[in-house]
């Protein structure tokens, strides 16, 4: 495996952990915020460095030459590949922006040190090479949220039940997969357990109530950071996709399709902004899963592009709602709040990010949505129609909430509630990324296509079902060859799936 020349991967995990310790020892809240921004900014720089050096190497995957842990475990611990490379800076950016946009009055309610801990765990999840490493990080990632709920004095039963089941299923599933022969009944049972665990973490119906409960009880910032990196989808891609027979992927696709429509419908009737956001997120996350489970390069490319778009746009949308909440408290959606005149920039960002998430032309989400629909049309026109209807419902929900929050009789207040410079900075960065990515989508699409091809070839190497690219005129799907015979996820990858002509 190729090596990165600088210890970017280690820095991505160590820097936020170090930051968490430093901030824990800091008493003044302003200083804690400044240090939080510095450490999350440095983590972002490390993530960008890793991403760029990986691109420069032109290899399917790379590890760090400074990986001390690899000498202990006699195998690579941290690595970067086509799938994880852009997710690392994306995740680091989301954490930076959430910390950056935290109002001074809210620092007491939002633990920056816990956020940095969570950042280190999520980045480590994306970087882990072995399945057990990914599972360990996925389980560890739930702990900061549990502490958050406890500290706020909120009931944790729903969270504990779901995350407990998730953790048990992960461990049991991976144990079965690892200890039994590939293709045996017990191995398939193990894959099923892993699938249920990943779907629980992704909030697929009916195991979705923990996400709405989390948004109800935890701070908006921590809830946002727990869901928007789409760690559940990552678990599906790392743990399930490479070994699952096609019928399991079809079950995931159907469950995701139902969740996408259900959550879109629920988002339309919610009376609370946080619950609206929760269902909107669930609908989008399910759309990503649908694309992944198509296992066609075009469908997976669409899903991976949508992943990036959803991560950025829904974080932007969440940040906007969080900023509005910081001024007015929790916002019921049974009346018009008339906030436009006070926070016009936030209103514009709400529309921009909301529309980007549904794939409005000219925004980051457009090409992803187009590719996703193209991929679903190739698989089944019925699925495609449902995906398009889901997008339409989400569009309605976003506009409804925009009107509810920002229009109506002007909100009367005796204090200045206009947006602050730190919020405007976060908003501007996101707006630029959403519009810039929308106007110049080709580099992102190319990178995601390479990742999709890598994943598809991985399944092909393992003798699992994959839908081939269509023939020349794009009219026919190749046969969907399905065999059973999963191999262990941490089996070495044999050859590069990356096309040579990468620009």
């Amino acid at each position: 495996m190729s090596e990165l020349h600088l210890p970017w991967l280690e820095a991505m995990v160590v820097l936020p952990l170090l930051g968490a310790v430093v901030i824990r020892l800091t008493r003044h809240s302003d200083a804690a915020w400044r240090r939080g921004v510095v450490f999350s900014g440095l983590t972002l720089l490390a993530a960008i460095g890793a991403w760029q050096e990986f691109n420069f190497l032109h290899v399917p995957e790379a590890h760090s030459r400074f990986d001390v842990l690899s000498r202990v475990f006699q195998s690579d611990v941290l690595f970067i590949d086509e799938l994880s490379a852009p997710l690392l800076p994306l995740t680091a950016l989301l954490y930076l922006l959430v910390i950056l946009a935290t109002m001074r009055t809210k620092i007491r309610h939002f633990s920056i040190s816990r956020a940095l801990c969570s950042e280190a765990i999520v980045l480590a999840t994306f970087l882990c090479h072995s399945a057990w490493g990914v599972i360990g990080c996925l389980i560890a990632g739930t702990i900061p949220l549990w502490f958050e709920l406890r500290r706020r004095g909120q009931p944790t039963r729903i969270f504990v039940i779901h995350m407990g089941v998730f953790s048990i299923l992960l461990v049991a599933g991976q144990s079965l997969v690892q200890s039994t022969d590939p293709g045996s009944v017990m191995s398939v049972v193990g894959i099923c357990l892993l699938t249920i665990a990943a779907l629980t973490r992704s909030g697929i119906v009916p195991a979705h109530c923990w996400i709405s409960d989390l948004f109800e009880r935890a701070s908006f910032g921590m809830s946002l950071l727990f869901v928007t990196p789409l760690v559940g989808a990552f678990a599906v891609m790392r743990l399930v996709l490479p070994i699952a027979p096609t019928w399991i992927l079809e079950v995931i696709a159907i469950a995701s399709l139902i969740t996408a429509v259900y959550a879109a419908g629920m988002a339309l009737v919610q009376r609370d902004t946080r619950r609206f956001f929760c269902y909107l997120f669930l609908s989008h996350a399910s759309l990503v899963l649908i694309g992944i489970e198509l296992t066609t390069p075009i469908g997976m490319t669409g899903a991976l592009c949508t992943w990036i778009a959803v991560g950025l746009s829904l974080t932007g949308l969440g940040l906007t709602l969080r900023s509005v909440e910081a001024r007015t408290g929790r916002l019921p959606l049974d009346r018009f709040h008339g906030l436009y005149d006070h926070v016009p920039a936030l209103a514009a960002l709400f529309l921009l990010t909301g529309l980007a998430s549904i794939g409005f032309p000219g925004t980051l989400g457009f090409v992803g949505a187009e590719l996703l629909v193209e991929g679903t049309v190739r698989a089944s026109p019925a699925i495609s129609t449902v995906v398009v209807i889901t997008g339409a419902l989400n569009g309605l929900a976003i506009m409804r909430v925009y009107f509810r929050i920002f229009t109506g009789t002007r909100h009367v207040t005796s204090i200045d509630i206009s947006s602050r410079s730190r919020e405007r900075l976060a908003v501007t960065i996101l707006a630029l990324l959403i519009i810039g990515g929308g106007l110049f989508p080709q580099p992102g699409v190319e990178s995601r296509y390479h990742a999709a091809v890598q994943l598809a070839e991985l399944r092909q190497q393992r003798g699992l079902g994959i839908q081939q690219a269509p023939n020349k005129n794009g009219l026919e799907n190749a046969a969907n060859v399905t065999t059973h015979g999963p191999r262990r996820i941490d089996a070495p990858r044999r050859h590069s799936a990356r096309p040579e002509h990468k620009s």
């Binding site: 109530c209 419908g265 018009f336 398009v388 309605l396 506009m399 269509p470 020349k472």
Partner: protein
């Protein structure tokens, strides 16, 4: 520089000024650095005039050289060669797009100059012009689109700006609810458009209109589809066009759109936006020729919408709504003309109708004042117009027709009763079940923060 290069540059310059206008006004709004009204007026006029001049120059060069079809390539926006996926940005200047783009510039420019005075010192002046610039860019892109994806881009911009402008007076709830209703109809129509675009992409291997219509310039192209394929794609596009042009059964949103400021009502619902569906049908008219059933559906839908519009327009109690339904009548007739294959007549009809209706809608606010002046001058009321219901129909029938027309065919009520209400009821029920489930898991109330009050999504007619 040869003629081809000149046309390529002029073609690009048609689209660039509206994009600059949107960029400047959008950035100034986001960064809270609003331009003063005089600058906004000059910038708008400058961009519209330069775009119009370039479009006129394209027309001039085409007339001189006898060129009937000028493609302007922007290249591939997104391409995945291994998957044969191309997202192609391309403009076409032909006998359909050039008149439409010139019409758009002329009417939008006129409305821009009118609105600059009409909205003087209005609190939402900047917001209006941001939406106005978005609409202009959307109209121009849709008019000269050379691929179905490019057309979709313009189509969406027009939809968003229209919904936001209907909700322009957003301190009142009715305009906002009407804006949301229009956005809902547009989203449904857009979904049909998107599916049609993707199906077309699959059938022809590209979204290029040239690939779809053959090599002939509009209106002479021959579509490269089978009759069955043409029927499927055509029905999806007809659905999208019906939503955009307020044809039946989507006509209910048209009077709601009059909640917006008069300039936007004039340019959107009287002149340009309402014709965009007809423009789409004209653009894909070679498809209609392939399927008799499709053409018949277009004719029937057009005539039914025209009849409905004529009935409703005669009994409305306010001028703008009456004009809206009068527009629908003409759009219905235009749609029927397209179904009959009368493409040039439909195009001329669009241009004439758009100009007349813009004038009428801009005139509407001062009309009442003029009526009062005339009545004062003659010392009596002006004679009332008749509803136009034939006298040979029994009185009960006349009342029913009158009520049906006055209530606008009960379209909105039916939509609410058969689609919106069941939808909301089902998902509210699911929400309640979820609440019971989470209450059970928590061992107590699980939604302390969520509001539990009921909300009404539909408002009475304005």
């Amino acid at each position: 520089m040869n003629v081809d290069e000149v046309l390529q540059w002029l073609g690009r310059l048609v689209v660039i000024p509206p994009a600059i206008l949107l960029l400047v006004l959008g950035l100034s709004a986001i960064f809270r650095r609003p331009l003063n009204e005089r600058r906004v007026g000059r910038l708008t006029a400058g961009c519209v005039m330069s775009g119009l001049a370039c479009a006129a120059a394209v027309l001039g060069v085409m007339l001189i050289t006898g060129e009937r079809h000028v493609p302007v390539e922007f290249g591939h926006w997104v391409v995945i060669p291994e998957e044969h996926f191309h997202f192609h940005l391309k403009l076409i200047f032909d006998r359909l797009s050039v008149p439409f783009v010139i019409l758009s510039f002329v009417l939008v420019g006129t409305i821009g100059a009118f609105a600059n005075r009409y909205l003087h010192r209005e609190p939402g002046y900047d917001r209006f012009f941001v939406c106005f610039a978005m609409f202009l860019l959307g109209m121009i892109v849709a008019s000269v689109a050379g691929t179905i994806e490019t057309l979709f881009l313009g189509w969406e911009l027009v939809g968003l700006s229209s919904a936001l402008l209907v909700a322009f007076f957003h301190d009142r709830s009715n305009p906002v609810i009407n804006g949301l209703r229009i956005w809902s109809i547009y989203r449904i129509a857009d979904a049909a458009f998107l599916v049609a675009a993707v199906v077309l992409h699959r059938l022809t291997g590209a979204g290029d209109f040239e690939g779809l219509m053959g090599t002939g310039a509009w209106p002479l192209g021959a579509a490269a589809l089978t009759s069955q394929q043409a029927l499927i794609v055509g029905l999806l596009l007809l659905f999208a066009a019906a939503g955009k042009s307020a044809l039946l059964p989507f006509s209910g949103w048209l009077p709601r759109a009059m909640e917006g400021p008069t300039p936007s009502s004039a340019v959107f619902y009287g002149a340009l936006s309402v014709h965009l569906g007809a423009f789409l049908l004209l653009r894909v008219s070679p498809i209609l020729e392939l399927s008799g059933a499709l053409s018949a559906t277009v004719v029937v839908l057009g005539l039914a919408s025209a009849l409905f519009g004529a009935m409703a327009a005669r009994v409305q109690s306010d001028a703008k709504t009456a004009l809206a339904f009068a527009s629908l009548t003409q759009v219905g007739i235009i749609t029927a003309e397209i179904g009959f294959g009368l493409r040039y007549i439909a195009l001329v009809h669009i241009i004439g109708h758009a100009c007349l209706r813009t004038l009428q809608l801009l005139r509407a606010p001062s009309m009442l004042h003029d009526y009062h002046r005339i009545e004062n001058a003659i010392g009596d009321h002006l004679p009332e117009g008749s509803s136009g219901i034939p006298g040979w129909i029994p009185r009960v029938g006349q009342s029913s027709i009158y009520r049906f027309s006055f209530e606008r065919g009960h379209l909105d009520a039916m939509l609410d009763r058969f689609i919106v209400s069941p939808f909301v009821a089902i998902f509210r029920l699911c929400d309640e079940w979820e609440q019971h489930w989470t209450d059970f898991l928590t061992g107590g109330p699980s939604r302390e923060f969520s509001a539990r009050t009921t909300t009404t999504e539909t408002a009475e007619e304005p």
